[in-house]
Amino acid sequence: MEMPAPNLNVLSKKAELILRLSGVLPKDALIHEEAETRVYECDALSAYRCPPLLAVLPSTTEQVSGVLKICNELGVPIVPRGAGTSLAGGALPTADSVILGVARMNDVIEIDYDNRFVRVQSGRTNLSVTGAVEEREFFYAPDPSSQLACAIAGNIAMNSGGAHCLKYGVTTNNLLGVTMVMMDGEIVEIGGAHLDAAGLDLLGLVCGSEGQLGVVTEATLRILRKPEGARPVLVGYDSNEVAGQCVSDIIKAGVLPVAIEFMDRPCIRATEAFAKPGYPDCEALLIIEVEGAEEEIEEQLALIKEIALRHNPVELREAKDADQAARIWLGRKSAFGAMGQINDYMCLDGTIPVSQLPYVLRRITELSQEYGLAVGNVFHAGDGNMHPLILYNANTPGDLEKCEAMGADILRLCVEVGGCLTGEHGVGIEKRELMLDQYEPVDLEAQMMVKDVFDPQWLLNPAKVFPLNASAARRSAAR
């Protein structure tokens, strides 16, 4: 994956930059020793690494504003960083960039149960937002699998999803307002505790813009009362097609489970060996969870079981208690870890129309044979959000490149059947060059015009999202 060559002019300003930034930041918030900047050299797409010029760890919106103002004046690129859990390289630095980490900004500012929102600093982790409102039985709905570590800032940047999005939506559907610092240091308030925008929906535009429009420092998030209960069932089938048909039939029947997860045989076997959840050895496995009052759970599960049995499952297992529910989820939750035990892996997140599921799985198997790389599939089936995990060996020369080529083929396949390149991880650097497979140049131009408005010098996370060729003129004009 190519990254633009560092701007030598910026590199030569390091001393001046340190001097000026030390005027707006506490001493311990400015990191410039090479041994220390190395901590920020990559995110969860760890195949790519590059230490930044500097890293800053501000603790207030005003400090962020001060940093951005200085970097804007000196023409220094900024790479915003939440918790560094991006799978797409969204927080990968360049050698001439300043990493702006929001990890120290993790306070809860306001909890308002009556109006059902919480306001937090953006460095707070996803799970600890729920942690702050749990005592009154509330929760924050989006639940990316990295929720223990990932920050709200990154969730907003990537418009993160999770297993329970089928019912509750993704970040953008649960975000009410933000405080955002523009590249020139101006602080803007977008949205608030009310439900809809007064004018253009800038909040919707900022969410998912991968840190390219501004640095979000505070967020107002919708919180919901927890349902009375939840219960999963596990259903195993001997073919992917039949499992896919079962998912279709459930949705068509008018039941809307909170989650429908799908695992294929390679994944089932790997998790069984790793976490021993006691899964049946079959071709495809569904975990379907419903929630609500006991009456509601019973009623929905009865319908789901009836549909599932119609398709002759090799196994159907309903959780009788919390312990059994945890066992059903155990394998799914350890799937990535299990695949990681076998080898290095690359995780994609292309999304497809649900009806194309069997065809896409078949094509992935064929691609796996062509490339000679094993693939396991574990994904959110209800909304068509695939997660093919391609196994490769980082120590074998050429394996990473082969894996990336195969990944690109799978993503093109997703687009071809009417889907998209990324459902929840974002484009980052990983899918940047594939954007023209999904969009025409004029479509990308419309998006880049938006960046022109928010960040005229293209200093915020500049080498991401758009193909390098497409953004080259804009990035170099700014120099």
Binding site: H194, G199, G204, G292, T351, G418, M435, A446
Partner: protein, 374 residues
């Protein structure tokens, strides 16, 4: 009037024009702009409907009624419950799906499931330079590039003319019921709605009419789902809300439907004189805001987060509120009043600057619904 038959023809029309254009779908929502009328009505038809993928794609000029009829066959619906403005505005014609999206038109269920923008999966539009642009797609989860889909929802045609929209549709529930609490003051009604919305009972509507049937105030809480579950939740909510005032329960499907259609379309104001304002605010601030002006009638939706006010003609509600965390839109008034006060609340400087710059980029000549949003 111009009425292009295809997206390509629309693009040519916009490229060729030198006049401002008034973009209109069904023209039922009271938005009138200067310039030549550009009617999207001929860009019509459902191009894809996959009930088991909960997805529908339609040309922007497609009638809402046609889409709803098609969904009903499969027991599905537009869950965001788009309002029909005809009764309130005395307009005629057929609302189009493009108009729904352009206005981000939502109804009472917005409080629980989200607004039109939350169900919008993809758009195609022609911008002010005559370029055909697409964004998003037809799948449930899509973070590929910037979300112009959200930006287009609620942009009232000022960034581009929608030609096609993809929507997430939802199954219709088996049963619905409404718990009614009678005679509450606005303060108590707001409390009651908050209690319902913070309960675990999955409320899909929370509204209050200052003068409901027989001119008495009534607070209404809607629940939907499977039979046994609705019965259970109705019982629980009736017990909790019963502590705040006398409670009745409506379970007749037609009656429940009529109640919420009434809230959605603000039927309480139909055929009544006066200006109509729509105020979006933090729900708990609704009683305070409502206390700042004289109203002939008030409808509170979204647990108080949406106030509909019927006031004397020419009243400037924004002046009475001063700065507050929300905004007030003038939905029905004389042309003079709209010209004088502006339909939309002026935005804070930072946001206004960004919005203006975005409009300038998407419509450099300023010809699409010119002046409508500032």
């Amino acid at each position: 009037m111009m009425k292009p038959e295809t997206e390509a023809e629309l693009a040519e029309t916009i490229t060729a024009t030198e006049e401002p254009l008034w973009v209109k779908g069904g023209a039922t929502r009271g938005v009138v702009c200067r310039g030549t009328a550009l009617d999207t009505g001929a860009l019509a038809g459902v191009s894809l409907y996959e009930p088991d993928a909960l997805t529908l794609v339609a040309k922007a000029g497609t009638k809402v009624s046609q889409i709803e009829a098609l969904l009903a066959i499969e027991g599905q619906r537009l869950a965001f419950e788009p309002m029909d403005h005809r009764g309130l505005l005395g307009s005629s014609g057929d609302p189009s799906i493009g108009g729904v999206v352009a206005g981000n038109i939502s109804g009472p269920r917005r409080i629980q499931v989200g607004a039109c923008r939350d169900f919008l999966l993809g758009v195609r539009f022609v911008n002010g330079s005559g370029e055909i642009v697409k964004n998003g797609g037809r799948v449930m989860k899509n973070v590929t590039g910037y979300d112009l889909v959200k930006l287009m929802a609620g942009s009232f045609g000022t960034l581009g003319v929608l030609t096609e929209v993809s929507l997430k549709v939802m199954p219709k529930p088996e049963t619905q019921a409404t718990v009614l609490v009678h005679g509450l003051s606005i303060e108590k009604a707001q409390r009651a709605m908050s209690v319902a919305l913070t309960s675990p009972f999955d409320v899909t509507g929370a509204a209050h009419l200052s003068s409901g049937s027989a001119e008495k105030p009534v607070t209404m809480i809607r629940i939907e789902g499977f039979d046994a579950s609705v019965a259970y939740r109705a019982k629980q909510l009736s017990a909790v809300l019963g502590e705040m005032g006398p409670v009745t329960l409506e379970t007749d499907a037609a009656a429940v439907g009529a109640i919420w259609r009434g809230v959605r379309d603000v039927e309480a104001f139909h055929d009544k004189r006066g200006d109509v304002w729509r105020i979006s605010c933090k729900p708990s601030e609704a009683p305070l805001l409502a206390g700042k002006f004289e109203a002939d009638s008030l409808v509170f939706d979204w647990g108080g987060g949406l106030i509909w006010a019927l006031v004397e003609e020419g009243t400037d509600l924004r002046a009475k509120f001063g700065a507050f965390g929300g905004h007030a839109t003038l939905v029905r008034a004389s042309t003079e009043a709209v010209d004088l006060l502006g339909r939309f609340q002026p935005e804070p400087k930072g946001v206004a600057t960004l919005s203006r710059a975005l409009r300038q980029k998407f419509d450099p000549r300023g010809i699409l619904n010119a002046g409508l949003m500032g």
